[in-house]
Symmetry: C2
Subunit: 244 residues, 2 copies
DNA sequence: AGTTCAATTTATGGATCCAATGTCAAGAGT
DNA sequence: ACTCTTGACATTGGATCCATAAATTGAACT
């Protein structure tokens, strides 16, 4: 995992500077440390992160395509205001895309190996909650399991455009499926949220197995909102964001 | 196009190397001069285009986000092989995304100005077919009208993630809504296809107006296949080059 | 003869340097 | 006093150079 210390690392870092700059800027924007409309200069960011201008330049172009920053003409870039409505919309888009994946899978049926993969994945999730206890290790386990389930669903759907669209869509904070265990990581008491997410997974696989495509799609659409059930997330968003 | 060192050229015909590389690579891929799966090296492309490696690097990253090239690990990039199955999938994705936009609009209802915009747009489409004759000018008119309708739908939905995801998705040939009038442009006899597409638009707007969200979504999903109705397109695809 | 390990080569990623462009400010003229 | 013009500065975009990592090929050993 990445440490969230910007300039704390010594000169030798195992993570590549390019990825480091991208995830740093993402965190800064998501946490509101870069306020909306605030200008982001290449040189300033490069010096602040202790890297050269080059990874900053590429990172800003990447973040521009992802919509997290906007260009200010020849005046550099600026952090874009991320509203709760936009996160709401991104979750909605993820719902229909993963819903389409579930629909396709239910419609064409699972092969024997695919069904085995799904059952193996679900059993791994089951093992996490079978322990009853829920330490930090279990949270990491759930993070991996959750990502594996969603990746398996999208991958098995046989439509690469779904995965491509999801990759772009998931760059907004709280929009990705990883937000389930990632953004709640400071609250170990959210046991029920993660358990209900696991139950959602089981229900989706059951619907796929019995070839109920509409049910599978509907379940998957509703499951997209698992990360923000409890709606406290949006309070955190609107708190970190001034006026847009 | 070619610059002969004009001292004070009034128009900004100065082509920047970055844009030049991007449009050159797009043309090469579209025209098949870069065959699918063919490896694209930075140095080779830079020397071929007479620029440095830097604009090629940024251009390849941009084209990667657009989905036209894929990474070959640390072995550079490759022109993406576009199969008929991928186009099928991209159309499917466009269907669910625009279906989501229609669903949202029907659920929250149209404002007076939005309804007026939709009616104005539809009447423009109606005017094209009211003439009966269908020359090349009418084809251009339909192209503009079709794009305007889809843009209006996505824009009015109030979910910017839908438009962002569609922008990426529409990079594949025949996946965009523009493919309706663009890729059929050599067949003026396809009058019925375009007319049925216009009827689809009208039906979607009617469903939205009567607040039938499920019908609006379903109609919009089915409408995504309007460009490939008749399935001759896929034969042209499997003939390895769509447009020339 | 096949497989594995190591070394070399090649290509991408990063850093620094240079050029071009746009903006801001200050001064002068009307 | 206001506006226009010009010059200086800051910032992005491009090019070249260097390091690192991966792949391929060759040789040696089993």
């Amino acid at each position: 995992m990445d440490e969230h210390a910007p300039a704390d690392h010594p000169t030798k870092t195992r993570i590549k500077p390019g990825q480091y700059v991208i995830i740093s800027l993402r965190r800064m924007i998501a946490e509101g440390r870069l306020k909306p409309g605030e200008r982001i200069g290449e040189v300033a960011t490069a010096e602040a992160l202790g890297v050269s201008r080059m990874p900053v330049r590429t990172a800003l172009r990447t973040l521009e395509t992802e919509g997290l920053v906007v260009r200010l003409g020849a005046r550099g870039y600026a952090a874009r205001a991320i509203t709760a409505s936009e996160i709401h919309g991104a979750i909605e888009v993820r719902g229909v895309l993963e819903g389409l994946a579930a629909h396709r899978l239910a419609r064409r049926g699972l092969t024997a190996s695919e069904e085995r993969e799904f059952r193996t994945c679900l059993s791994q999730g089951e093992a996490i909650f079978a322990d009853g206890a829920f330490g930090n290790g279990a949270l990491d386990l759930f993070y991996t399991y959750n990502l594996a389930f969603h990746a398996l669903l999208v991958d098995a759907s046989g439509n690469p455009s779904i995965g491509a669209a999801l990759t772009r869509n998931n760059q907004l904070p709280f929009a990705s499926a990883a937000a389930l265990a990632l953004d709640w990581s400071d609250r170990p008491s959210e046991y029920e949220h993660l358990l209900s997410a696991h139950r959602d997974h089981c229900n989706v696989v059951d619907a796929i197995a019995r070839r109920d495509d509409d049910a599978a799609e509907r379940l998957m659409r509703e499951h997209a909102w698992a990360a923000v059930r409890g709606e406290k997330v949006f309070e955190r968003i609107s708190a970190s964001r001034p006026a847009g």
